[in-house]
């Protein structure tokens, strides 16, 4: 979550999150729009990094905000908005990944390879490029849950406890999935089929 805050969206107005959330909770339409504009890119980032492709990102952002604005009154601590909202976005993204997998298996949609060149920034250090290439080459082969914990841990740099908080899954389950996914990633990085090694 701290990392998300490091990439802030340019603020339309210099008003604190808490004030905007409180105003939005009271039904202020302008505050709700301001909240949207402030966190739309954040939501898109979370979804994009989990999916690895520019697929249905706008839908995820829209659905996440629709849910968030509808249930904003239930948020008791305004300062916890970002963590709460990130949970919503993550949940929506997981649902999209699962649905797309099912549709792919059934043959309704065609699997699309991630465009790694487009994803990874040109100025990224070599070791990060290798790591990200390996990771995004691998994640489509992983089960959805392992894919999510791996991205949250390796890309978003969340701690295990933060992953538990973000996904709502039990601690033991998160650890087990993370261990399995990490093993696969390391196999991928060290093995002959490692995409990152070939291109790095």
């Amino acid at each position: 979550l701290g990392l998300i805050a490091q990439n802030p969206v340019p603020l339309p107005e210099r008003v604190s999150d808490i004030d905007i959330v409180l105003a939005a909770q009271s039904g202020d339409r302008r505050a709700q729009e301001q909240l949207f504009r402030r966190y739309a890119r954040t939501a898109a980032g979370i979804a994009f990094r989990l999916i690895g492709q520019d697929i249905e990102i706008e839908d995820i952002v829209q659905e996440s905000f629709a849910t968030a604005l509808a249930t904003l009154r239930n948020l008791s601590a305004a300062e916890a908005f970002l963590a709460w909202f990130a949970r919503i976005v993550t949940g929506k993204t997981i649902a999209v990944i699962r649905r797309r997998r099912l549709l792919t298996r059934l043959g309704f949609v065609r699997a699309k390879e991630a465009d790694l060149e487009a994803i990874i920034s040109k100025d990224a250090p070599a070791e990060i490029v290798i790591e990200l290439r390996a990771l995004y080459a691998l994640i489509d082969a992983l089960p959805t849950e392992e894919r999510v914990v791996l991205v949250l841990r390796k890309v978003e740099q969340l701690s295990v406890d933060e992953i538990v908080d973000r996904t709502g899954w039990p601690l033991g389950t998160v650890k087990r999935r993370l261990t399995r996914a990490r093993e696969r990633l390391e196999e991928c990085l060290e093995g002959p089929r490692g995409t990152g090694r070939e291109s790095g």
Partner: protein, 360 residues
């Protein structure tokens, strides 16, 4: 291999998101919320309508279920229907009738319900006492016949709203609390109107002069007292008594006796206004219950002769056709059919009549 923790990968992933997408998504979100609002309002309207309908159905079902079960729970009152025979033992009991009236039956009383419908309520009190109350001013006549007194049978008639008490123990006694009650003594055919606040009991001398009702109607067979035709009993009242007796027998299921009385009225008092109705009733009885189709034709023909344009004339015409059809008399059937159709071709019964003689 370990990731370099100081450099966060998240900072090196380019998120393909533009301000245009932000604007577009916000507009879509706003439109979605508007649409959701419309959908919610529409759903709320339908739900409200469904809830109202359900409530209405529930209320009707509740009332339909509750009314019959309420009577025995609310008090010792039950609905009684025609044909019921009630006998109380040591306690007072109350009963309700379909016209909204209520009978309170004293201990050791005996009541027979002969008829209870939209046209009349008729009961017979064999023993004991009863109080009848009706709050509504419906014009359904109430008729209480006090029996067990032999020739001294008394009939009490009331309509509208009324309240009265009558007893039939050692003697007949009537006390009217509300409305008015007409008392008809069968023996003398005397009719007395008793109003609210008044009491009534038969006079002693009347009891001495009483003659059996059957002989009162047939004066030529009377062996005691003066011939009724020349004394108290007029021709009209004899016809009335005869008609009532026939009707009572009919209601009691004594069809042969009823037919005999109707026939007697028809022949002895053909000019009495009740004669056409009696003849028609006789025709129906003979045709439908007594298996006497030829006798039915006679009775119906009699109706048409004495009252050709009366209220029973169309029904008598039809009855005559039915009777000849039952007799397989195709000539007679067609003749009566033609007679009917020449008079009542536009009647709603005409199509049915046209089919009556086919296949004979």
């Amino acid at each position: 291999m370990k990731l370099v923790k100081e450099k966060h990968p998240v900072n090196y992933i380019r998120v393909p998101w533009t301000d245009r997408q932000t604007n577009r998504t916000w507009l879509r979100l706003a439109a979605q919320e508007d649409q959701d609002l419309v959908t919610r309002r529409r759903a709320f309207r339908w739900l409200s309508l469904a809830a109202a309908m359900l409530l209405l159905v529930f209320v009707f079902a509740w009332r339909a279920w509750k009314v019959p079960t309420q009577a025995p729970l609310a008090a010792k009152e039950v609905f009684v229907l025609a044909g019921a025979s009630v006998r109380t033992t040591a306690k007072v009991e109350s009963f309700l009738f379909s016209d909204g009236s209520k009978i309170t039956l004293a201990a050791q009383s005996q009541l027979q319900v002969l008829r209870s419908d939209d046209t009349e309520t008729r009961v017979t009190l064999g023993a004991g006492a009863l109080k009848i109350e009706r709050i509504s001013s419906r014009n359904v006549p109430w008729n209480v016949q006090l029996t067990g007194l032999g020739p001294a049978d008394v009939e009490m008639q009331a309509s509208g709203a009324f309240s009265f008490r009558c007893a039939v123990n050692d003697s007949v006694k009537l006390e009217v609390f509300q409305g008015s009650v007409a008392v008809v003594e069968h023996a003398t055919l005397r009719r007395t109107l008793v109003h609210a606040g008044q009491q009534w009991a038969p006079e002693n001398e009347l009891a001495a002069a009483i003659v059996p009702s059957a002989t009162a109607i047939a004066p030529e067979k009377t062996s005691i007292g003066e011939p009724l035709a020349t004394s108290v009993v007029t021709e009209a009242s004899q016809a009335q008594a005869l008609f009532k007796r026939a009707d009572s027998a009919y209601v009691n299921g004594q069809l042969v006796e009823a037919a005999a009385d109707f026939a007697k009225l028809m022949t002895k008092f053909p000019k009495d206004p009740r004669a056409p109705v009696a003849a028609y009733q006789l025709g129906r009885l003979r045709l439908a219950s007594l298996g006497d189709a030829a006798g039915a034709v006679e009775a119906f023909t009699f109706v048409l002769r004495i009252d050709p344009n009366g209220v029973s004339s169309e029904a008598a015409e039809i009855g005559r056709i039915e009777a000849t059809a039952q007799l397989k008399d195709s000539v007679g059937c067609e003749q009566y059919q033609q007679a009917y159709l020449s008079r009542f071709a536009a009647s709603v019964n005409a199509p049915r009549v046209r089919r009556m003689c086919t296949g004979l």
